[in-house]
Each structure stands twice: as structure tokens, then as C-alpha cells.
Symmetry: C2
Subunit: 435 residues, 2 copies
């Protein structure tokens, strides 16, 4: 059921096609999303309440879910589930806090000191998808690094549930994260609200979070038109599993299916130096897929996926880096053998006992990752995504005397006399002072 | 000549207007730029050669400037100028190399190890503006961090000079940077070439560099349509100078003018707690501006600029952070007093003897910085801009036994059975093995 190719038989064109992702049909919905954004800019909260009725079939009195409502709903989560969310929270926190580092000051020339200081992005907006699938894990993955960064205002939007209440798991995460307000807003309208601000929902500087193609399109548009930064360009989720004769075919199949159940447009790719493994994985897939509640979705995704047999690790990694997968599972005895060759990937899972699910939920790494080959140029979300690094410099008398003449020459080369003057006027001042 | 306001007299609307930047008229030229991009995609090198004739008035035989040509032109740079470029190169190198750091591995749960590894973006494209102003400094600012990051391929495009040769200063920088090929291509067509690739010019993963509004528009379009990452959204250059009774009005005026000479749309803002200083700076501006070769440009920019008198440092910094300046010069005796209050800025210059020109050229900090209030969410270009940080994780038997049950519960909460299976199948395997 997984399409099968042999790398040695593929033409350059074939390879190009295989690494190409489903292109979004975003452009089709652009007009609709533009209308939603315009409506939210014009009518603020009223627009959001009317979209909640239209899209979420809920009549909202207020967009604000306050601390009392959050606490009430959080109460309904059972003990084991609370414990699991706490463990995930702690692991994500532990891994991410080391990402906040302090850099040393550098004296590049005697008297010229340069350094960088971290500053949190002051106001960030987190979009937590709701509707059919509610994702408390995404809430943790976005809000934990925001907290570590020290963002002053963390605005959280999530679509209203059918009963108008907040999902209990989201509520419990809010407690863990010490977030006391959540806004009932979903889809493109939530993104518009955070980009432009409404009566209830504060305008933010950067918007994070996954979503359907309306959400994605809205993020693209506000990035362009509202000067609102966004986390990463979005696309369907994907995994590459690397296998060889040491791989466990049942584990490999389970990992491919965990990816496949995400959505029909997900892609689960198997790259292997062992033909036997590919055959065994096919067999496992057939068996494991039937018992899945989301079997229909998974089957569609598997149809959209493939396996490739390679003669060498080197060829395999050339293809893999060209694909630049969001998730890369190296399901072999000696994953380290691939380490130096891995150039492009979002998150990497080493060895037989490291399923992608671990990183999706609780190992500590972030699950908001670059898809659609964006891993060639983008990293996943981290504390870095919530801070700016501002450069500072301070020059003393020695410094300007040492470096000034160089700056004067360079300004002259570029024909920028006033740039030169800014130095010359200081040098003259020091000369007359020191006489 | 610098408009004057008193902060206490400003309404909220006034303040909003003052922090608002000139909005680009980019949308007007969008169609033209789309045509150029389509033409380059269709006809590759031929399109570039024909645009060079049309826009740069040069008939090019080849787009490639090779090592021989680079070496020839570099020879013509005089000794002192070479030395100045070398000092700038060294300082930029020294400051940036500390940005490449190694992070520690974190064991978030017994048996669960997580870490991040840096990987260079493999192919980067640098756009170095040419034409009236040639900017060797920009070449250094972009290529030095690319070299430190370890990018495999550094593609450099710069518009052809009227004589068809490469500018000698650019050539000498190429020698310092060990870059042996430069492509003669400018404007939107150069951006299109690097995003899509042509016969001569390789396709890249991320494009860096400033440029006119055609270049900026082209970068926006290829980011959207070609999945090519870009450095930072661009806008006109700007500075805020903070002054008080301790400031030297001649220095402050010189710094404002260094900004003003960049372009008519540049903005040079003076924020001061001293009315006397503002008056003295006005006087200095009048005197200093007249002797500038680019006085006409500077006068226009100064008309587009302003000064504000504040009652307190606190109010001053509220305004300053809301403006989020590209450059911030704190031209006072005790700049450290502002340190904790600085939240949004691209690069900061402390004290009387630290002109912006220092950072523009040679102190070591980068001069490719966020404009138009993007400093609220973006950092300037650094080594970080040329790398990805890939997360890795490895789980052993203890790890999956410890963390597995948590992952199972979380996958259940989100209704993702196959995510749960990927763990359960491993736990079962270990149980049967350990019996």
C-alpha cells in the first residue's frame, strides 16, 4: 500500500517530484480570509461573536474566559491526566530553559565593546486549535517557551467548544502556565483579532500556532499587511523514517501510522537500505492500520506516501536532506552513523525506542516544527522564537581614537560624508581637549 | 527645522501618528515585480542579461565575475582602504564568532536525552546593492556570519557597474571573504534568480540583503511563492537619539545627519529630557547640514523627522519602545540608566563617543537591522540567521518505561490512537523481552 521505488532507478525529475509537497490551495481561500480580516478590523468583538455563531455554532455572551471558568473546567480533569500534563509541562520546561543563554561581551578593538542582550517579545499571541481535535500539547509547546522568555503579555485564542465552555485539558494547562484569560475565538478571525486588536483581545507583536488553511492564510496576510511577525510558514505534517536490517518493522509501521493519522495530506516516508525491511513494514502497516479509529484518514495519507530503497547511506541522506523532513526518525541500531550527514530536519528521533510521539508530547523538545522543506532554512519553535537579541556597543576615548580613522575611510569609500563627520567631530573634540 | 513636540501635550492619536513609519508604496510596483520574476523563471540568464541592458545600461557577455576579474579589480584598491576593510572584517568576525554556541544535552527524564545541534543553511544568497551607492560594508555584514555559520554555498549578486566591471571595494571584500564568484545581477531580477535558479545562478534557501523597493517587493513575493526564506522585512532606515543636559549637541546633530543622508525617507528622531539640548541641536543641524554633499537628501529626511521633549526618562522610554527604532543612540553621561528600560531596538549605541557610524562599519556589530518597528519582534542579522537549530532526542529502555505511560495518556486525551500505539508497541516488546 506504500508506493515503492528504488533510488537507483529514479530520474532527476522523479526525485524532484518525490520531495515536492502537496501545495496548499491557499490562494483559493485568500479572498474569503481577506473579508474576515476586514470585518474583524471594522467591527472588532462584534465580528468575532458573529463568526462564532456562524462557524462554531455557539452564541457567546463574552469572548473572555476568565480565571473562574478556567479553574472550574480544570477541576474536571482526572488525576492521571493531570499528572501526565504536569510531566509534559516539566519536561518541556526543563529542556527549553537552557535555551536562554547569556553571551559574553567582546572587545573587538581596544576601547570598543560589543555585546548582545536578550529581550522578550513583549506581546505574543498563541493560537490553540480546537473544534474536532483539541490540542493541549500545542498550548504547552507554545506557552512554556513564552514564559521562559519572559513575554509580558501572552494572549491565547482558541475556538469556542460546542457548549461554549473551555476544554478542560486546555483549562488545566492554563493553570500550569499561570495564564488567567483565554479568548474564545477561532480560525482566521482569531488571527485577525490578535494582529489588529479588538475591544477584548489585545494586539500582539508575533503570532504562533498551527491551524487549518484559513488560519495559515490569515497568518500570511497579517505578516504582510499588519507587520505582525509569525512563527513559521505552515504546511501538512510529515515524517521520514530511516530504516535498515536492524530496524523493527512493527515499530517503523507504528511510527508511519502515527504520522498518517494526522490528516489526509500528511506524508509518511520510509527510506531504507534494506528491501526486506520495506516488505515487512508493508505487512505491518496492513495489520496495524485496520484497528485504528482514524483508519480512513491514515489510509488516505499512506496512499500519499512512499518508500524508497537505497544502495547506500550516503544516497539516502542526500535524498533525505533534499526532502528536509519535519520529523526524522532514525530507527536503526547505530543512529549516530547518520548524525554528521543530517543537514535539514525539524526534529530528530534516534534509535528504536524513540517514537515521534515522545517529542509530540513529553520528551521535552518542541513539536512546532518547519514542514514542507522549510527545515532547509527554519528551526522549530524554541525560546529563541520569543526573544530578540539586541546588539549594544560602547566606545571610550581609546576606542574612538583607535577605530575612528578606519570608520572615516570606510564612510568615504561609500560616499557618506555625514557618517564620516559623526566620527571626525568626536576626534576633533578629543584632540582639542587633550591638548 | 526639526519638528518640535512636548510629550505632555500629545494626545494618544498624536503619539500613534509619530511612531507610524512611512508606509511603502510597494503594492503599486507589485505587478511590475511579478512580471520580472516570471520573466526570470521563464528565460533565466537571458532575462537577466536583457534586464542589465534595460536597467543598468550595460551589455554583459556573462553574468559571472570570476576569480581573475575579482583579483584584478581588488588590486586597484589603495593600501589604506584595504587596511580599513581588513579591520572592519576582523572586528565583525571577532564579534560574530561568539554567536555560534554549543548547547548542553538535557536529560529531562531518566533515560530521555534531548539536545539541539546547529546546522548551517546550506545555500544562502546575498544581495549587495550597487548602482549609485556601492556598499562593501553590507557585503562584510552578510558574508562574515555566513562564513562563520559554515554555509556551503554563498551566492552573491550585485548589479553590474556602468563599465561592466566589479566594484574594486566589493572585489577586495570578496578576497577577504574567500568568495571567488560574484554574479552581475541587480534589482528584483537578482532576487528572482536566487529564489528560482538560472543556468548561471544557483537557487538558494534564504536571501539576505537590503535594496530599493523593487528588491524588497521581490523578496516578499519569493518568500510567499517560492518558499525562499528572507532575512528581515525591510523599510527605510531610522535612528532615535536620546539626549539630556549632559549631551554634546554637536555630536547629536552629527548623528542625526548621518542617518538623514541615507535617503529622503530616512527618519532621525531626537528624544530629550532637556529643552536646551533640543534648541542647541537645532542650531547645530542648521550649521552642519549646509556643508554636506548629500544636503538635499538630508534636508528632506530632516523635514520628515522630529524632536520630543519629555518630563521623565520613563515616559521617554515608553515612547522609544513603542517606536522600536532600528538604531538607538543613548548620547548621555550615564547610558546604563536606560539599559533595563530598553525593550525594542535593533542596535544600541552607548555614550558620547559611540556614533552609529561605528556600528555601520567597523565596531563589529551587524548593521542589517529591523526597521519600521519590526524591532518589536525581530533581531538584526547574526550568525543565528544563517543556521538552523535541529532538536534531537534519544530514549533508552529506562526512558520509554518511565515516560511511555505519560505519552499514552496524552495521546488518548487528544484522540490520536496511532500516536499511542507507537509507544504501546514498544512497551509490549520490552515487557515480553524482559520476562
Amino acid at each position: 500500500m506504500l508506493a515503492y521505488f528504488e533510488y537507483s532507478q529514479l530520474t532527476i525529475e522523479d526525485k524532484k517530484k518525490l520531495v515536492l509537497r502537496n501545495s496548499d490551495s491557499d490562494h483559493k481561500i485568500q479572498k474569503q480570509v481577506e473579508e474576515i480580516i476586514a470585518e474583524v478590523r471594522e467591527n472588532g468583538d462584534r465580528a468575532l461573536i458573529s463568526y462564532a455563531e456562524k462557524f462554531d455554532k455557539v452564541s457567546l455572551k463574552s469572548l473572555i474566559i476568565d480565571e473562574d471558568e478556567i479553574n472550574q473546567q480544570a477541576e474536571t480533569v482526572d488525576r492521571n491526566q493531570k499528572r501526565a500534563l504536569e510531566i509534559a509541562f516539566n519536561n518541556i520546561y526543563m529542556f527549553h530553559r537552557y535555551q536562554l543563554t547569556k553571551e559574553k561581551q567582546v572587545e573587538t578593538t581596544n576601547g570598543v565593546s560589543c555585546w548582545r542582550e536578550n529581550r522578550p517579545i513583549e506581546r505574543v499571541g498563541l493560537y490553540i486549535p480546537g473544534g474536532t481535535a483539541v490540542l493541549p500539547s500545542t498550548f504547552l509547546m507554545l506557552a512554556v517557551p513564552a514564559r521562559i522568555a519572559g513575554c509580558k503579555e501572552i494572549v491565547v485564542c482558541s475556538p469556542p467548544q460546542p457548549d461554549g465552555k473551555i476544554n478542560p485539558y486546555i483549562a488545566y494547562c492554563a493553570q500550569l502556565l499561570k495564564i488567567d484569560t483565554i479568548y474564545s475565538a477561532g480560525g482566521a478571525q482569531a488571527i485577525a483579532a490578535m494582529a489588529y486588536g479588538t475591544e477584548s483581545i489585545p494586539k500582539v507583536d508575533k503570532i504562533f500556532g498551527p491551524g487549518n488553511q484559513y488560519v495559515t492564510q490569515a497568518k500570511t496576510l497579517v505578516q504582510l499587511n499588519a507587520n505582525t511577525a509569525i512563527d513559521i510558514p505552515a504546511g501538512p505534517s510529515e515524517v521520514i523514517v530511516i530504516g535498515d536490517d536492524t530496524s523493527n518493522p512493527a515499530f517503523v509501521a507504528a511510527d508511519l501510522l502515527a504520522q498518517a493519522e494526522h490528516g489526509k495530506d500528511s506524508q509518511a516516508v520510509l527510506l531504507s537500505t534494506s528491501k526486506t525491511l520495506i516488505e515487512q513494514v508493508q505487512q505491518e502497516l496492513r495489520e496495524q492500520i485496520e484497528v485504528l479509529p482514524r483508519a480512513e484518514i491514515a489510509k488516505k495519507a499512506i496512499e500519499n506516501s512512499y518508500s524508497i530503497l537505497f544502495d547506500s547511506k550516503q544516497d539516502l541522506m542526500i535524498f533525505c536532506n533534499d526532502y528536509a523532513p519535519e520529523h526524522l526518525i532514525v530507527s536503526v541500531d547505530e543512529p549516530e552513523a547518520y548524525s554528521r550527514m543530517i543537514m535539514n530536519a525539524g526534529s530528530v528521533f534516534y534509535g528504536h525506542l524513540t517514537p515521534e510521539s515522545a517529542g509530540d508530547y513529553a520528551s521535552g523538545t518542541n513539536h512546532t516544527l518547519p514542514t514542507s522543506a522549510h527545515a532547509k532554512a527554519y528551526s522549530g519553535v524554541s525560546v529563541d522564537s520569543f526573544i530578540k537579541k539586541i546588539t549594544f556597543q560602547q566606545i571610550n576615548e581609546d576606542g574612538i581614537l583607535n577605530l575612528g580613522p578606519t570608520i572615516e575611510i570606510l564612510a568615504e569609500i561609500e560616499g557618506l560624508q555625514a557618517h564620516k563627520n559623526a566620527v571626525s567631530i568626536r576626534l576633533k573634540h578629543l584632540q582639542s581637549k587633550n591638548k
